[in-house]
Symmetry: D2
Subunit: 358 residues, 4 copies
């Protein structure tokens, strides 16, 4: 049922458990002849690595990318690109005490009910380490999209109640990576760091919001009914661990708006004066910037003791020892970008099928 495959033409099939031997995937449908910039690929992977700061998991992995196929003489060949990253610092014994326990708001219970098997080591396939595969496929997609002058970037818009609400058009993209929390504003970054410190001290965690912008998409991408561009983006984003909501363009605010406020009037060149549409009309890109927000919940693993139950219904008090982030939002940025890149490239390739007849 292709449960581990994403995309229709540019397709990622992913594999791997947090504490298995490797995480990886196969990219099928990457066009041939694309130059592969391995430094760029590795750098994208590094962007999601725990940075060993005290806000993120201190699992130490070099996450060195290995590509097994589909690249010849530095270029893609059009055949499947298989890749993986080894798991080296998997400390499964940290999880031994969890063998029989269902952690609150984790996937332990639901996986057990689904498969009748419970890979208790670090969440198995439910671990965010699974997103490594998405980063790699997204990086390949970005290499292709560059040829079309399509740019994708995301940043931290909110952590806890601290918000960055400025117009994204005013920011310097290079400021994002300079910020410890990937927020392009230095003052708000400081406030977010303060907040994260206090949360960490409490042994607690917190949520936030990521904003993503896609620039340079020509009109015509997306399908009119079920595979609307926003529908595929929504699916892509809600498939990321801990994501709780998605909105594009005017989003949830549109609920309180009037048609006369929310409508985007055209300029003479058929660009629009405003962009409440978020670059998409009727499921199809209109040439304006595509932008959307993704809400993330607080990481469920907290350092406070929590009462739970094991498979036999016995009460257990959980005080985790594994390595976990205080807030997943900064590390979610490259994942959001990667999934966006996959969706956009997939639809770019799908669009070709409408252009065939002259």
């Amino acid at each position: 049922m292709a449960a581990n495959t994403f995309g229709k033409i540019f397709r990622l099939t992913s594999f791997g458990e947090s504490h298995g031997s490797a995480i990886g995937g196969i990219i099928d449908g990457c066009p041939p002849g694309v130059e592969v910039d391995f430094d760029f690929l590795q750098n994208e992977l590094n962007r999601r690595k725990p940075d060993n700061s005290f806000f993120t998991s201190d699992r130490k992995e070099d996450d060195s990318l290995k590509v097994l196929s589909g690249v010849f003489q530095g270029k893609t060949t059009g055949t499947p690109i298989a890749f993986f990253v080894e798991n080296k610092d998997a400390k499964s014994h940290d999880y031994n005490s969890l063998k029989e326990v269902f952690r609150p708001s984790h996937a332990d219970f639901t996986y057990y009910k689904k498969y009748g098997v419970h890979d208790y080591r670090g969440g198995g396939r439910a671990s965010a380490r699974e997103t490594l595969s998405r980063i790699v496929a997204g990086a390949f997609a970005k290499l292709v999209l560059k040829k079309y002058n399509i740019k994708i970037f995301a940043f931290t818009k909110q952590i806890g109640d601290i918000k960055f609400d400025d117009d994204y058009k005013k920011i310097q993209i290079s400021d994002i990576e300079k910020s410890f929390v990937r927020c392009p504003d230095a003052d708000i970054t400081k406030k977010m760091l303060e907040y994260l410190k206090s949360i960490k001290k409490e042994g607690d965690t917190c949520g936030g919001i990521v904003k993503c912008i896609i620039n340079g998409v020509e009109p015509g991408l997306g399908e009119p009914v079920f595979d609307k561009l926003q529908a595929d983006l929504a699916k892509a984003m809600l498939s990321i661990n801990a994501a709780k909501g998605f909105e594009y363009g005017s989003g949830f605010n549109a609920a309180s708006m009037k048609g006369s406020e929310n409508n985007d009037l055209f300029n003479k060149d058929l660009s629009t004066k405003t962009n409440f549409s978020g670059g998409i009309q009727g499921g199809i890109s209109n040439g304006q910037d595509i932008y959307f927000n993704v809400a993330f919940k607080p990481v469920p693993t907290i350092m406070k003791p929590q009462l739970s139950y094991d498979k036999n219904g016995k009460e257990v008090v959980i005080s985790p020892k594994g390595r976990h982030d205080v807030c997943c939002v900064p590390r979610a940025i490259p994942i959001v970008e990667a999934m966006a890149a996959i969706v956009i490239l997939d639809h770019l390739l799908r669009f070709n099928n409408y252009r065939v007849i002259k």
Copy 2:
């Protein structure tokens, strides 16, 4: 590329334009032996019909359902169920003046860019009339889900700034259909109606929010990575015309919550004390209620004059004459339910593939 197909096992392929001869579809993968209650099917269709009140389009269609295959002696046979509804009251001449014009925040421009063809009659396939097919497939899905004691219902949570914020557990489901705007609270219904009247007087339109609840789903539905249950629900909802956002469980609020607040502690029977998870953990149902919100934008067709451009870049003032809703939210309720039913049944059938080995 299956652009007009939704679902993996229980699949709807839809067809039809607003002003073509018919709207319909084929349901493939409906299990055999399900009794078909035609009155129920027709009633579901009637729920999305314009009710000829002054808030909705006054297009008059009897929307009478015709089923061409897949049902024998009152039961499904397991073969494809083809169905359609005729378009009778399509007044295409209302649209003649729009032949060359791109309406603001409509799909005219993007369709034209995608296909190089512009079916200007009532939006062609971009019309909300397309959702008829979803209603029918959703109604079949509901017939199957009844056998599993799964109930799905939705209601109007917000219109403009008027909100119904009560716990959904307190409402009477039967109160929803009694309300002219499908809000289960009589007082709030009154306020919403007042607001709609004022909006209509202005020649404007407004947005809103739909809440949907799915009750009775056993633990285990959903896939762990890309086809997470919430991801497929998000895609389903964002594929509905005018939808702008999706959130489930604690949703966007989770961004400001702490882990200790958002975590759902287990009861001894492995139900949970709270349900910020919205019934889904790690992409898989946990047996609690699944619930989510969908934001809708205001209908873009307003009765105020708007400046726009035609294909030749000539300025045009648009003052629409077609028949259009003031707010799409009340009529979106059965569509949201239908798409939810399709997603849940599809995953129920997918779940079977994990149970095969004893």
Copy 3:
């Protein structure tokens, strides 16, 4: 599971039972802007109609094609094309005596085991009348392929033991339709007719072989591993009722050949001197003619009494009254062509995805 869908980009989803109200389908993925020649479509349908000669079923249907969507102002719009043909002359009472009986070498027993339901009227969905949908989708595909100068034609190569073994390059395509059995040779046609008469007199039926040629395919169509062009053609052909075998190029004869005999040496222009490859190397078209044979079994409904059993294990003697062909081969010709056209167009559209990067 898409059991009733064929194709990946150009996709046919079919519906309908022999004795239901209609047979039809939805074509998704047809490129926009293709002129629709309705006379051609209807003529293709007429080619598979029983011709009321004494060799074929005397069911009388006008098989008049109705198109419900996807065509506007005489051209395809790129949206789904829904179509159907009504069943008018369905004489279900002819089948009443078969309600409880499993006919030898029919699908009655297997359908019953699969679905737990038995649509005994004319074989339900197992009837060859289902192929109507394929003819229509194939006709649309042919309209597109014409723009690429791709020609597809098939003919009767064998009926019983009477064979037409000439080089297909010598035949006049127009001679095929002139022959009552769609064999391009007048003498062999006469012999085949004699044979069919004798078989009919016996109350028996017979099998045969269809040869199909696809001319004008550029090099590059087909996928290297699972979706090899010959693999998709084989699937397409074996999905036709009564088909028992498929071979392309040197086919089963290749088993007795040596490499030095079977290899196709290149000419200087990279065409090949011989064509044992059947126009396909490594799953991908090489620019030479693609050709293949399809074997068909004798129609299982014979006019001789046959012993069988009903659902309760009771012995029954079957002497059919339904309307059935003596040999299905002549009517299979347009079906073979239609399925070939769908496969080739689908792969032509798939090929676009490899050409995207300059």
Copy 4:
């Protein structure tokens, strides 16, 4: 477009080039809880290895299987199973002389036309070494099918003109692997060996036919229209390198048979007296043995000099140095079995979706 994926529920996505670093794949959709017999998996791989006899390629690979995911505590977990086999003895320099040359009846020319890239090292992805992935996925499928008492075996039915035509019911399965050419008859094995010796002496190659039998399939597997069981088997077989034809049951012989001869009359228990149907009626298994033949062409790499052309149209005489089989049929046996196992398991899992409603 999923060009490198096979199957709908039990799905193999394969990767790897003959002279890349590894060949492997991901199996998605394998049911959880299946005990993984690694010795069996490795043994299946060994069955397709060149045996270093003088009839097969003398490439020396240990083909040691590495599984990266999806197995925990000796059992499948229901998550993707990633695996690979390293390429160690790839002598790419053997192919340096072929950099610019198109070998006759190889995929060099067509790959070049498709991708604009030419991986000249050992045929790249067109090499039969790609079938390693199929063997592994097939071996996993066999492990599942064992639980259903489904047995699959294949043998050499013909090499050149030397045929084994006995009823397959009389053979001892264990005799197959004892034979150097995988033919269950010792005398015919001897003749085949003689023939292979003479062919090798000539520097030539030869084709043959494989017969495969699937025993123990319950009635009900397969889909009624496009995904008929025989259609999916045909596709699976024609997707194997060098396969030229497929026939099941009475196959091409059915063309010369009468209905009264070809029909399989029922016994009282609804088994059939004969089995010309090859265990399939209307696309669906009927509980009898499923059996089919696959024709293979002679390996195109011969040791005789052949005239060909390079990319610049320059004449080249080819006298290969690579390591190649005289006849691929004996090594094709486990590949045919593997693909059959994948098809049958996939349909077994699909069948579940029809059984859901009680």
